[in-house]
């Protein structure tokens, strides 16, 4: 069986950044396994601009952003296999894949970096009643058809869900000649970035109806219409508020789910909140030597943060295979998301292992205006930062300093919470 120091599952933005960082940290033997026909992952179909403002200080399209990392991977001579589907990752880090050239093959990894990304929630998972005709697409599927293949999946469109892909597709479908009648959002707030609401809906006069959902789907063969209704505070449709939309297409942008079937198979502990692995400060899962980053860990809003996080995972994996973090002892501090904070990544911190400065990323559960992001070391408040608004659609972050944590011996819990002004 062939062996590599680091095997990276997924050649999208997370996998590429992790590979580059691991190589630059001194690991030579790296293999990226990618199921698609090329590296770059979902960025290859994100042909709009807005990527890279943090990473490269310029505004790139998705394929351009990916191309920079792909070029770096090639320049560094990092090995990768395309059209290769990983079918199993074992607890002792044997990664089994299948492709046309090699058939079924297994490689032994010193460390594994999980970078499989996420999938879109489907119509079925939403339990929208009605018929099951053609013309219902997840926004990402439509994006692939339109942006990569040049096909128009429909002409009169209703979009359910105001996640970023849905907003981006509202604009794209309009630009390609379709008419977008409505974006309906179940929640009383949008699931996407503010800038996308402005640039993709407002600029094109596309209405966004918050607290609305699709309650019926019509059409036996091709979609002929949907019924939209207002929902109450618990998300239940309110009778009498139904409106009929004649359309041939329903796009769904109703949430992304980290794809952790392989992780589960390896025995990786999965958080019920993020649907991603529970990781420590090194982005290492409960299985020693298995790391995770990008959307398989938690769903991000900006790819720049994916790259940043993945670089950290790549560095950690490189250190692990060099044996720098072989000893698992020492204190463990638990991160405690509270009062409006749904989760934090990482979930656990071993202060001895952390970098001088470490970014903690989190999302809030609902929109909150004029509030504070607060951090407590056990009972003591150590950070109290005013924020004009926090929203579930935008990832938040704070930075923890190693020095300050070490100055609190016996520290057990770091709480991150939203406090009202």
């Amino acid at each position: 069986m062939k062996a590599y120091d680091i095997v990276i599952v997924g050649g999208g933005p997370a996998g590429l950044a992790a590979a580059v960082a691991a190589r630059k940290s001194g690991t030579d033997s790296i293999l990226i396994l990618e199921r698609e026909r090329e590296l770059g992952g979902i960025l290859n179909q994100c042909i709009h601009s807005g990527f890279g403002l943090h990473t490269f200080n310029e505004e790139l399209t998705g394929p351009e952003y990916a191309a920079r990392f792909v070029a770096e991977v090639k320049r560094l001579g990092i090995e990768y296999r395309l059209n290769t589907m990983v079918v199993d990752i074992s607890r002792d880090k044997v990664v089994t894949s299948v492709n046309r050239e090699d058939g079924m093959f297994s490689v032994r990894a010193g460390a594994v970096i999980l970078a499989m990304g996420c999938r879109e929630r489907s119509r079925g998972a939403l339990n929208i009643p009605g018929y099951r005709p053609a013309g219902i697409y997840s926004a990402g599927t439509a994006q692939r058809l339109v942006n990569r293949e040049g096909y128009l999946p429909g002409r009169r469109v209703v979009i359910l869900g105001s996640g970023d892909i849905g907003l981006i597709m509202a604009r794209r479908m309009t630009l390609e000649g379709a008419r977008v009648l409505l974006v309906a959002e179940l929640q009383p707030y949008s699931g996407g970035l503010k800038r996308n609401i402005v640039q993709c809906l407002d600029d094109y006069g596309i209405p966004l109806k918050l607290s609305h959902t699709v309650v019926d789907i019509q059409g036996k063969e091709r979609l002929t219409g949907v019924t939209v209704a207002r929902v109450d505070a618990s998300g239940k449709p309110i009778p009498g508020t139904e409106e009929q939309y004649d359309c041939d297409t329903l796009l769904l942008s109703v949430g992304l789910i980290p794809e952790n079937e392989l992780s589960r198979g390896a025995g990786v502990e999965i958080s019920p909140v993020t649907s991603g692995p529970v990781v420590n400060e090194s982005l290492e899962t409960n299985i020693e030597g298995i790391f995770a980053c990008g959307n398989v860990l938690h769903v991000h809003d900006l790819v720049d943060y994916v790259s940043e996080e993945a670089s950290a995972a790549g560095r950690s994996a490189a250190e692990y295979v060099r044996g720098l973090s072989a000893d698992g002892a020492g204190t463990v501090i638990r991160m405690n998301p509270a009062d409006g904070v749904r989760y934090t990544v990482p979930f656990l911190i071993r202060p001895e292992r952390m970098d001088e400065k470490m970014t903690v990323r989190f999302r809030v559960g609902s929109v909150c205006r004029d509030c504070y992001v607060s951090v407590y070391f056990d009972g003591e408040r150590v950070l109290h930062r005013r924020r004009p608004v926090v929203a579930p659609g935008e990832m938040e972050q704070i930075v923890l300093e190693k020095e300050k944590i070490l100055a609190h011996p016996g520290l057990e819990v770091i709480t991150v919470k939203i406090e009202e002004a």
Binding site: R35, N83, M85, V87, V98, N99, R100, E101, D102, G103, M104, R119, E120, S122, R123, G124, A125, N127, P129, G130, Y131, R132, P133, A134, G135, Y137, S138, G140, T141, R144, L145, V146, E149, G150, Y151, L152, P153, G154, R155, L175, E176, G177, V215, D216, I217, K220, E221, R222, P237, D248, R264
Partner: protein, 478 residues
């Protein structure tokens, strides 16, 4: 002039076609949809019932038990995923115990083997997630689960291989008696046959009433279902029913042969024979009722929901045979549950009636064996690698959720009565049937289908007719 025309390529029509293909005869199946298995046969509980439900002495009881017994050999011959996982009918109140015992007795009289009542203690050992209210259950070890698509498709493929002709997208509009037999007017011309097998599901009454004065009525009885992710597939290991009782007719919770969990069905009589839509009320009802026998069913794991229409005949009995005023017209009507289970027995019974009517003789070269789409994941690593070396397309995974390769999709398209739509591919390979519900694989499956059929992406449909995925190209209207 055909010897026999079968109306409908569902599980009943396909079973009749296969059984008739044992004889020397010119046979044609007319199907209004673009594929076999498009009506009730594709949207049901996928259960092989043991046979304790139907009334003693009914044809339904007889054919259920016969069909159940035939299934082992049929599944082996035609390579159909089938497991005798056993079924449990759970009694949740002591007051209902007489009903449970009556069911036991009825089953024994129907000839169901191995039935016994299990008490709570044993029941909890068998099914740890059984309801806290469960008192006892009727256990039927002969109950099973099957792939309803493969059962239907396999019998049709086998009939085709034995010389039966299939005409799809052909809707029968009228049937009339003639001197020689019957004339069928369709939207694609006139067909004539000496005998007709009426396997038209919810429409069987329409054709029956065209040739017979003894009118029958079939009412579509809608059943709605949830299908759950494989992660919930082992929540129960047997098919768990609720004893019909105080809470009305209950819903079942069962594993499927593909490792999912199925919950359903509801039962509501409706007027529209095409209304296969799910409803808010129906789905909500399922969520409540599934808790009667199994606790805390993980409904958050639902990956899809669907509805099927049972062909409910007023007398709740299978009507199989010739009306006395229309000899040569063989009804297979009122085929509601346990129709899937009984289908091999129904097909055999219908075929024997036709044989006797036409004096058909058996072929010596009948091919009894058929093969499912080759599944690389059932092979050893060595065998799989040999396969990929010979056919590299078995190394390209198209559907990541169900791990379906390009080789399997090509097999599904190229085989006799092969897939012509994405739903056709799905029923034959499971591509698109997993947790992402075809989000990732549909563009690639469409591409493969377009290439194989030598047509454009804009001609590819979900399920035939006007169910196209693509309406044009970018900016074509600007």
């Amino acid at each position: 002039m055909y010897d026999v025309i079968i109306i409908g390529a569902g599980v009943t029509g396909s079973a009749a076609a296969r059984e008739l293909s044992r004889f020397h005869a010119k046979i044609c199946v007319l199907e209004k949809e673009e594929d076999v298995c498009c009506g009730t046969s594709k949207a049901n509980s996928a259960i092989v019932h043991a046979g304790y439900d139907a009334e003693n002495g009914s044809l339904m009881a007889e054919l259920n038990v016969q069909g159940n017994r035939m299934m082992t050999q049929l599944a082996e011959e035609l390579d159909i995923p089938f497991v005798r996982n056993g079924s449990l009918v759970v009694c949740t109140a002591e007051a209902d115990r007489p009903a449970l015992e009556a069911l036991h007795e009825r089953g024994v009289k129907n000839g169901v083997e191995g039935l016994r009542i299990v008490e709570r203690e044993e029941l909890v050992r068998m099914e740890p997630h059984i309801s806290d209210q469960a008192q006892a259950a009727l256990y039927a070890p002969t109950g099973g689960i099957i792939c309803p698509f493969r059962l239907n498709i396999a019998m049709a493929e086998n009939a085709c291989e034995n010389g039966v002709e299939f005409q799809f997208n052909t809707c029968v509009e009228n049937v009339e008696k003639t001197e020689e037999g019957f004339r069928l007017r369709t939207d694609r011309g006139i067909y004539e046959a000496r005998c007709v097998v009426n396997a038209a599901g919810v429409y069987a009454d329409r054709f029956h009433n065209m040739v017979s004065g003894r009118k029958i009525r079939i009412t579509p009885r809608k059943g709605e279902y949830y299908l759950l992710d494989r992660t919930a597939g082992d929540y129960v290991s047997r098919t768990v029913f609720t004893l019909p009782g105080r809470y009305g007719k209950g819903v079942l919770v069962s594993p499927t042969v593909h490792g999912n969990l199925i919950v359903g069905p509801t039962a509501h009589d409706i007027g529209d024979k095409e209304a296969t839509n799910t409803t808010r009320e129906g789905l909500d009802e399922l969520a409540v009722k599934c808790a009667a026998a199994v606790k805390d069913v993980p409904l958050r794991q639902v990956i899809t929901s669907f509805a099927g229409l049972r062909a409910h005949e007023d007398g709740h009995e299978f009507l199989i045979g010739e009306p006395d005023d229309a000899p040569g017209f063989v009804d297979c009507a009122g085929i509601e549950s346990p129709g899937l289970t009984a289908s091999p027995a129904i097909g055999r019974m219908a075929a024997r009636i036709v044989r006797d009517r036409l004096g058909l003789t058996e072929k010596e070269d009948f091919i009894a064996v058929g093969h499912d789409v080759l599944r690389p994941d059932r092979l050893s690593v060595q065998e799989r690698n040999d396969l990929i070396r010979r056919h590299p397309e078995y190394g390209t995974v198209i559907c990541r959720c169900e791990t379906v390769t390009e080789g399997e999709i090509l097999d599904a398209i190229r085989r006799p009565l092969g897939a012509r739509s994405l739903d056709g591919i799905k029923r034959r390979t499971r591509a698109g049937m997993g947790r992402c519900q075809a989000g990732f694989c549909s563009p690639r499956a469409m591409e493969i289908l377009a290439r194989e059929l030598g047509t454009g992406m804009d001609r590819i449909t979900k399920s035939g007719g006007d169910s196209r995925f693509i309406v044009g190209t970018d900016k074509d209207s600007l």
